[in-house]
């Protein structure tokens, strides 16, 4: 009608004014109505208004043509680990992590998710559990400048890491904010095995290549993605060493020969393996890396040998509870791109001696140095039975209704079977200077009293890594 009023009365003008008669159906739906309206306004019958010129495609294109076969389970590829079929056969529920489907928990008949996760979490602390960790990103780093390069991309020091040793590290952006973490091990003088988060693997690979190609092309180092060169299973718990000793007999496993944060090449269930003694649960733990074509075989060998210990396969949910009991962070859950290592209370991981590393200069800014930034702290509910939801807002002074001044939010919150109470961590403004203070978690109409604590709940002295 507007077109008509402004004098766009020819059908071709109407088309350009309104875009009716364009696009994939060339007006077969919308145009008919427009032409009828125009006919009404001009007081003539519809055919005398005329029709616009059709251009290919003359017939409507269905959504099916655009989508093709990319529907239902072809909508997006599901990436599966070499042990995926075992998880399926054992009734695992799966959780999407990027395109991967990871075993989430393994409910027994009649068990709720809460029951299954609690059972899995307890089993790891009391006997031994096994988890499929194949999805972790892995990057092979080689060259005479490999150690120099790691010194630049991680916040801590790598040059002096001994051959056969492993170390945990944070990578920060130029802004000094944490963007990935993982354990990297020195395979040989000029050869490292780097691990990254599952979701961050491609990003870290691009990050390394960008700094190498754009900033330090003269450095002699090569990066190769080897994420899928290895199937990885972690066995953890007080019985882990005994269990490993039954399927791996060609190396000594005692603390002196194979200490925490070291790695060995050995034979596991007849298969050549790299074994890393590292832990994401805080327990005595080994990450067994084997060729994927033998992944299922080695997994089954552990299940068989572990039967007498009550070996318990556990999923990502139990893994997250276990790490939260220890206060270990998940990058991307407890961090959001605005969090420095210092904000996490992990000042120890930032080298004071290194002349430079990515993010160092930003850590010297007044804003990143101020003592009242948001810090990661523990948050314990007054009522131990209440598990507050992730994302609940933290408030100091309650009012009858919002808005209230928000100090931060809950980042990780779980029922802890080993503490027999709820546990939570959160980012709270000036948090480390509030230890012992009472704050409130708020969501919807709920207001829950919480006490600020250190973000360590279980085994705070870290004795359990020794079994």
């Amino acid at each position: 009608m507007l077109a008509h009023r402004e004098g766009y009365r020819s059908v071709e003008h109407l088309k350009r004014y309104t875009t009716m008669g364009m696009a994939t159906d060339q007006g077969k739906t919308s145009n008919v109505n427009a032409l009828a309206i125009m006919a009404g306004l001009q007081n003539v019958d519809i055919p005398s208004v005329g029709i616009t010129t059709y251009r290919p495609p003359y017939t409507p294109v269905t959504f099916g043509v655009f989508s093709g076969r990319d529907k239902e389970d072809f909508l997006d590829p599901v990436r599966k680990t070499p042990m995926h079929v075992w998880h399926e056969d054992h009734a695992a529920k799966f959780e999407p992590v990027g395109q991967w489907h990871r075993a989430w928990y393994y409910p027994k008949p009649g068990e709720s998710m809460h029951d299954a996760v609690s059972r899995e979490v307890k089993a790891v602390r009391t006997s031994v559990g096994i988890v499929d960790a194949s999805t972790l990103g892995k990057i092979d780093v080689q060259g005479p400048d490999a150690a120099w390069f790691l010194d630049m991309v991680y916040t801590n020091a790598w040059s002096k890491l001994g051959v056969g040793k492993c170390r945990y590290g944070f990578m920060c952006g130029e802004d000094g904010m944490v963007f990935d973490d993982g354990v990297t091990s020195r395979i040989a003088e000029n050869h490292f095995h780097m691990t990254t988060t599952t979701g961050g693997a491609p990003r870290v690979m691009s990050w390394l290549e960008e700094w190498h190609q754009c900033e330090w092309p003269e450095k002699k180092v090569y990066f190769t993605s080897v994420t899928e060169q290895w199937a990885v299973m972690a066995i953890g718990g007080p019985m882990a060493r005994q269990l490993l000793g039954e399927v791996c007999t060609d190396i000594p496993l005692d603390d002196a020969a194979f200490p925490h944060l070291s790695f060995k090449e050995a034979t596991v269930a007849g298969v050549p393996a790299r074994i890393f003694r590292i832990t994401f649960t805080g327990d005595l733990s080994y990450e067994i890396n084997v060729p994927p074509s033998y992944g299922l075989h080695v997994w089954r060998a552990f299940m068989q040998a572990g039967e007498k210990y009550g070996i318990t396969p556990y999923g990502t949910e139990a893994l997250h509870v276990l790490r939260a009991e220890k206060g270990f962070v998940i990058v991307g859950q407890d961090t959001d791109g605005t969090v420095t290592p210092q904000d996490l209370g992990m000042d120890w991981i930032v080298s004071k001696a290194k002349p430079d590393f990515i993010g160092r200069r930003s850590m010297l800014r007044s804003d990143t140095k101020r003592p009242d930034r948001k810090h990661l702290v523990g948050l314990l509910t007054e009522d131990p039975k209440i598990v507050v939801p992730d994302g609940a807002q933290i408030v100091e002074h309650l009012k009858d209704r919002p808005p209230m001044t928000m100090l931060g939010h809950v980042t990780s919150s779980y029922w802890s079977p080993n503490m027999d109470r709820s546990i939570a961590m959160g980012l709270v403004k000036n948090g480390r200077n509030r230890l012992g203070q009472t704050l409130y978690a708020c969501w919807e109409n709920n207001r829950v009293k919480m006490t600020v604590t250190e973000p360590k709940f279980f085994d705070p002295e870290g004795a359990r890594v020794n079994g």
């Binding site: 090569y222 290895w230 074509s293 033998y294």
Partner: protein, 203 residues
């Protein structure tokens, strides 16, 4: 050492041998899996004759320098991945020997040898309709005037990243794919290939 029957290919859960028995004869497409091949990633300076000579020395095969080409010598193939990156591909039995041979030949040079054999499997597709099947999921021109035997390309096939290598004029192709994507890709290719009549090749 472990019994070899414990070794599983990435597509083992599809029981390709059973599928092969059920398959009729004569389709436009023959699909299969070539599992457990040696794939060694090498890096180096293509303009350095010491490097190219060392590759030749260790593998018996010339290093292909033209983009997206494959050099072959006996049972060894070298696939061009980038200006300083290649895959040396051979039988499983030659894997350890190739790695050692390349490392020894490269001694003193800034090069790189990384075993990536276990990260990928290879889906083989052959027959007159292969090109039509691939065309449904690939944006590159596979017409004989643009792509033929001895050429390879890194691209996406439907929603999986692959390296595609044409091996003959049947036409036959080898599709290198990360194992985690192989379940998806096999089912996708199978779905498309049904339109053309498909036979599964035994392992």
């Amino acid at each position: 050492m472990v019994e070899t029957y414990q070794r599983r290919s990435a597509l083992a859960h599809f029981s390709l041998n059973a599928l092969a028995n059920q398959s009729g004869t004569g389709g436009g497409i023959t699909l299969g899996e070539s599992a457990h091949r040696a794939i060694i990633n090498i890096r180096g300076d293509a303009t350095d004759s010491a490097f190219t000579a060392a590759v030749k020395n260790a593998t018996g095969c010339d290093l292909p320098l033209a983009a997206n080409t494959v050099a072959t010598a006996g049972d060894i193939r070298i696939l061009w991945l980038g200006p300083d990156e290649w895959w040396v591909v051979g039988t499983d039995a030659r894997r350890a020997g190739l790695i050692d041979g390349l490392r020894n030949a490269f001694a003193g040079q800034h090069t790189n040898v990384t075993d990536v054999s276990e990260s990928r499997t290879i889906i083989t597709i052959s027959g007159p309709a292969s090109r039509d099947v691939l065309a449904r999921g690939i944006s590159n021109d596979l017409h004989p005037r643009a792509f033929g035997p001895g050429q390879c390309i890194q691209t996406s096939l439907s929603r999986a990243n692959v390296l595609l290598h044409q091996t003959d004029n049947a036409p036959s192709y080898e599709i290198y794919v990360l194992k985690s994507f192989s379940d998806y890709l096999w089912r996708w290719i199978g779905l498309i290939a049904e339109d053309f009549g498909m036979v599964v090749k035994a392992e």
